[in-house]
């Protein structure tokens, strides 16, 4: 059983689409019932905790849900039209986009720079690598809490440090929208930079050293080597990171929820926190909350499809 099962299970993800697959089926497809045992648990978990809840969200996004009885009445697309006239939703959408546009390139750029550094002859680089990666291992809530100790504008570490360095007054991290947003971005980059670094580091180690040797023989300087060898060759990692980071940024919730809770005003409200507040806050409008969830899903899906297509085309061109 083991060889057939391994074949069945192992082959499916890489089975080429179209012609060859149907050819094989004609030949008598490799069908081994025990394969079900292997994929069963994952499929069951995915269905129970991902697919069904997702379908549930789609369903509830067209309903008005009574918070106590759980019964719902149809609302058509009202939940979606409400969004268009909900200033907080629009602000959250804008904030989410802004947050994504700022955090993704910054965390990836820094991650790549650090990866190049760690890939070189830096002393104690294993220690540095761990230090940079560590925030990712901590839960988002804890990171948010650490952020509140750093960025509290009265008793926070950052402001105390600024005062000690002779600044006139502290920075209004909590009462000024711009600075609150900045604090969220800084904390996010601190978390995410380690992830980008690790992925880039793995990609860098796959870049053949003789390319650099050849380039330096041709007289290419360091920057040129980076620009024309390193950067293109870590391309697949870049695409992977863009997708992962954009999804992460679109779904950001825990850190912001704990660090600023969307405030001051709505200046750090993002789609994730607003959906939660709508569905489980005092108003408990779970239908509307589900609709916002669907919007996050659709936006992420669109982006992923676009990115995936671009990625494929690029590989073909290359």
């Amino acid at each position: 059983m083991s060889s057939a099962a391994a074949l069945a299970a192992g082959e499916s993800p890489v089975a080429p689409a179209g012609g060859s697959a149907s050819r094989r089926r004609r030949r008598g497809a490799i069908w081994e019932p025990s394969a079900l045992l292997f994929v069963g648990p994952s499929v069951l978990l995915a269905v129970a905790f991902l697919i069904l809840p997702m379908l549930g969200s789609f369903y509830y996004s067209t309903r008005k849900v009574s918070p106590l009885s759980g019964t719902s009445t149809p609302r058509g697309l009202d939940n979606y039209t409400t969004m268009l006239s909900d200033p907080t939703f629009l602000r959250a959408l804008l904030n989410t986009a802004l947050f994504t546009v700022i955090t993704v390139p910054l965390s990836m750029g820094l991650g790549l720079a650090l990866a190049v550094l760690m890939n070189s002859v830096l002393p104690w680089r294993k220690v540095w690598r761990t230090v940079v990666y560590l925030p990712l291992v901590i839960s988002g809530v804890s990171v948010g809490l650490i952020g509140t100790f750093l960025y509290n504008e009265v008793i926070g570490v950052v402001n105390k440090l600024l005062l000690a360095l002779g600044a006139n007054g502290g920075i209004p991290w909590q009462s000024n929208g711009f600075w609150a947003f900045t604090s969220v971005v800084l904390v996010t980059i601190w978390i995410r930079v380690g992830f980008s670094m690790i992925i880039y580091l793995a990609a860098l180690q796959a870049v053949p050293g003789d390319l650099y040797e050849a380039a330096s023989l041709e007289g290419a300087n360091g920057w040129q080597q980076f620009r024309h060898i390193t950067f293109p060759l870590v391309g697949p990692a870049t695409f992977f990171l863009i997708i992962m980071n954009v999804i992460y940024s679109f779904q950001v919730f825990d850190t912001i929820f704990v660090l600023t809770n969307g405030g001051p005003g709505n200046s750090t409200e993002v789609l994730g926190t607003w959906a939660y507040k709508v569905a489980f806050g005092p108003t408990r409008d779970q239908g509307y909350g589900a609709a916002i969830g669907v919007v996050i899903f659709v936006l992420t899906l669109i982006f992923t499809i676009v990115q995936w297509r671009a990625n494929r085309n690029r590989d073909v061109v290359a």
């Binding site: 008793i155 704990v258 005003g265």
Partner: protein, 439 residues
């Protein structure tokens, strides 16, 4: 009420963590109401009741004591308490209700009562409670359509805790002790100015307890100015008025003049108890139920006293406090009603309030001298303050839509306090938001 929650949150435990925990308990706890129900209606067989609540340390101990006494008197009934963080209690209850398995008893803030009575899910306690035994204004908080749907267990109101050393440094000597002597808004302003001059960097003159779900406590200023949130028929907004703009002007000034720290606005998570304990404020507007925790936290680092809130046209305060209710479809409603009756009996209420520095709702106790366990010397202003609540004001903050009104207050006040929006614009925006929520 909402302050108890604060205590839970104040340590910075984090909403997210709390929410996570709440969700878990909602999903996994097996409510005891599924336990033997045979004979429950007869009141003879053994019955286990589940009681969902949130509590500070003092409250938890006081609840346990009342429950122990009840169980002694009613050998057939045991009560299992399920203490959850305030921030997640609503989600917890929603999940239990949706699963068709609500707890037999649960604690509800007065301002949240409307959410349950409007859905008609609570047990009518007309036969168990004597309306005449309670302060009429306070009893109003649990009444819907003329019937009581909860046991009005306790109230708490806001008064001012102040540091004696700060007052001395600022040269403030006329500390009021009665409502008649309470500072006017002008006197309060003078005091805040003086305090702001003597406070160091990182300190401020005072903190007001309007953070998060406490946003509605801003209404105390509105009521003091002689204004109202809703019209007498409770059908439309009455806030876009001279009194409304005056209250907005005055409270916006707290931020503009630097009397309060900017990170103590309505959406903040910096609460009065932690600010007062950490020594960053000279005065804290705080509920009496915070006194036990404040007293432990201050540890005699400085001397402090209590005084009534300032007054303008009138003296006022907020309706804090909680009822305990039972769902009408519970399996053990008779036993639950029996417990609620016991909980608000004179003896139980007295011991509970004395242990927690909270205030009673029974007429016989509001006129009596309670022997509070912790810093009884501080309690007089709170007790006096409680008498300023009128039934009209109570009915405004217990309408079914109050959760939305509270949220509207939070959103719109934040824009005035930190966003620099004018009082006139804010009053108009508030009226519109209130109107929308009422529909």
């Amino acid at each position: 009420m909402s302050l108890n929650r604060r205590q839970v949150l104040a340590g910075g435990l984090g909403l997210g963590a709390a929410v996570g925990l709440g969700a878990c308990s909602g999903l996994t706890s097996k409510a005891g109401s599924t336990a033997p129900s045979s004979g429950a209606s007869g009141g003879s067989g053994p019955v286990e009741l589940t009681f969902v609540n949130w509590s500070g340390d003092a409250e938890k101990a006081a609840f346990d004591a009342v429950i122990a006494k009840f169980q002694q008197a009613n050998p057939g009934i045991t009560i299992k308490t399920d203490t959850v963080p305030y921030a997640s209690v609503q989600t917890n209850l929603d999940t239990r209700f949706q699963a068709g398995n609500p707890p037999d008893l649960f604690r509800v803030s007065y301002i949240d009562m409307g959410q349950y009575t409007s859905q008609d899910v609570l047990l009518d306690l007309s036969d168990s409670l004597d309306a005449n035994a309670f302060e009429p204004g306070l009893f109003q908080a649990v009444v819907a359509n003329g019937k009581p749907y909860g046991a009005p267990h306790q109230i708490d109101t806001t008064a001012i805790l102040y540091r004696k050393d700060a007052f001395e440094a600022a040269g403030i000597t006329d500390v009021p002790t009665t409502l008649e002597e309470a500072w006017t808004w002008e006197q309060f302003s003078e005091a805040a100015d003086k305090l702001a001059k003597v406070t160091k960097k990182g300190q401020s003159a005072f903190i007001y307890d309007w953070q998060s779900a406490g946003a509605y406590r801003w209404l105390s200023w509105l009521f003091e100015a002689g204004g109202a949130l809703l019209t007498p028929d409770l059908k439309s907004a009455a806030i876009d008025s001279d009194a409304g703009r005056k209250a907005l002007d005055f409270t916006k000034g707290f931020f503009d003049k630097g009397w309060v720290a900017k990170n103590t606005s309505v959406k903040s998570t910096t609460y009065p108890d932690s600010a007062f304990i950490s020594g960053t404020v000279a005065m804290a507007f705080a509920g009496s139920f915070l006194v036990p925790a404040v007293d432990v936290g201050v540890k005699k680092k400085f001397e402090y006293g209590a005084m009534p809130q300032p007054r303008d046209v009138a003296a006022s305060t907020d309706l804090g406090g909680n009822a305990v209710v039972a769902p009408k479809d519970g399996k053990n409603t008779e036993a639950a009603a029996k417990f609620l009756q016991f909980l608000v009996s004179e003896e139980s209420m007295r011991t509970y309030c004395q242990a927690t520095n909270e205030l009673p709702t029974l007429k016989s106790l509001t006129s009596a001298q309670l022997d509070f366990d912790i810093r009884p010397d501080l309690m007089a202003p709170f007790v006096l303050q409680a008498k300023t609540l009128t039934p009209e004001q109570v009915s405004q903050v217990t309408v079914p839509q109050f959760a939305d009104l509270n949220l509207a207050l939070q959103n719109e006040l934040e824009k005035a306090f930190l966003g620099g929006r004018s009082s006139a614009d804010t009053a108009t925006a508030l009226a519109a938001a209130v109107q929308k929520a009422l529909q």
